[in-house]
């Protein structure tokens, strides 16, 4: 028998220690002899400890507290049933409910997210409202019917001079200017980098002393406009 087999046998589940092969190996191997002696001590010690600890039962006070916890549980169950509620909601219901909410949200958000050029062909090709006028039916282009609106988004104002109490802004005037897009990078804002000559709009707050105190950059998007180019 090898030492590894001996150890496997020694610490295996509920195996005896009196096997002749083990005894024979232990006689020839001092390490395994020590292991065998230690294992005998361990088994005997745990057996005695197990006997001494039985029955390891909690006190009556603990029993009472657990029963009280169950009484609380039963009361809550009754209350929930009385209210017609069943909590926790079954997982299936939660999943289906969540899915329904997600679909509704998608339906609500999707039209806003779609750019005019990406609109499905059906929406733009549908004939517009039919006007009844000079005796003949006249089809009106949808582009003419829907007003174009510019939606402006802007950054916050970025201070250009130290002005903690904002008194410097008394009597300040706002000027809208066109600046190279690269100006945005001076204020730590991201630039597209696609076209070096691209210009962006900006609002500059100029104080009464003629100093520019703050700036914000704008982006204008046109919605409800179908591109013709």
């Amino acid at each position: 028998m090898k030492c590894t087999e001996f150890a496997k046998q020694l610490y295996g589940q509920g195996l005896g220690l009196e096997l002749p092969e083990m005894e024979a190996h232990a006689e020839t191997c001092p390490d395994c002899r020590d292991r065998l002696a230690a294992e005998r001590i361990r088994r005997d010690a745990l057996r005695r400890l197990s006997e001494a600890s039985r029955p390891a039962a909690p006190s009556q006070e603990c029993d009472h507290r657990v029963r009280a916890a169950f009484a609380g549980f039963r009361r809550r169950q009754k209350e929930q049933k009385a209210e017609g509620l069943w909590w926790p909601i079954p997982a299936k219901r939660l999943v289906w409910g969540g899915a329904a909410v997600a679909v509704l949200m998608l339906l609500a958000i999707l039209p806003l997210k779609l750019r005019p050029g990406q609109r499905p062909a059906t929406s733009s090709s549908v004939s517009g409202p039919i006007e009844q006028g000079s005796g003949a039916l006249k089809s009106v282009d949808a582009n003419q019917e829907k007003p174009e609106t510019d939606v402006e988004t802007a950054t916050d104002y970025i201070a250009m001079t130290p002005c903690p109490d904002l008194k410097c802004l008394d009597g300040a005037r706002n000027f809208r200017v066109l600046l190279p897009e690269s100006t945005m990078s001076l204020f730590g804002l991201p630039v597209s980098g696609q076209n070096g000559r691209r210009q962006v709009e900006a609002d500059v707050l100029v104080g009464a002393d003629g100093t520019a105190h703050a700036i914000r950059f704008l982006r204008t998007a046109t919605v409800n406009k179908i591109r013709t180019d």
């Binding site: 001590i41 361990r42 005997d44 197990s50 600890s53």
Partner: protein
Amino acid sequence: MDRAQLERIRNGEEEAFVRLYESAKTSVFGFALHMCGRRDLAEEVTQETFALFLEQLKRFDPDRSDVLAYLIGIARNRLRRHMRRQSRYVAFESQTNAETSLAEAPGRSPQEKLLQGERLRLVRKAILALPEKYREVIVLCDLEEISYQQAAEALGCRVGTLRSRLHRARELLGRKLTACQGRVVGLDTAGELL
């Protein structure tokens, strides 16, 4: 525990719950007691375990997991939380009621009673000195004598992992107890540890 009993507990039948509690409380309490070495903490953990089980009753599926393993898993987590708070292990009580009754068995001399108490204290100390992952397997498999399958489920590991941990834990504990032997030999004239 079968599905019918679980359903009865869910419906608030105390008898069904008491039957479960009576069948599992010894193992849960024994596990907690041997793991922390304190009776008061073990009782607190036992109580919390069953209270939490009731709260999580919806999640438990008797077809997929064993109730005892599930309860011991809860007890293990609660115990860890308590231990983290205290951030250290404390010494075992000097004597539990069971030990006292054993030591006071008729026919034992005062010297034998003292020796018996000292032996048990040393064994408990050796178990508590084991690293947590080894102590868990010794307590579950050797002291509480639950099956490898249940123990593995309670500890959230595979049976193979449990076996290898148990192998190492038994070896370590054997060494520790052998080292303790000398101290008891001084007390015991027969020179036998236990």
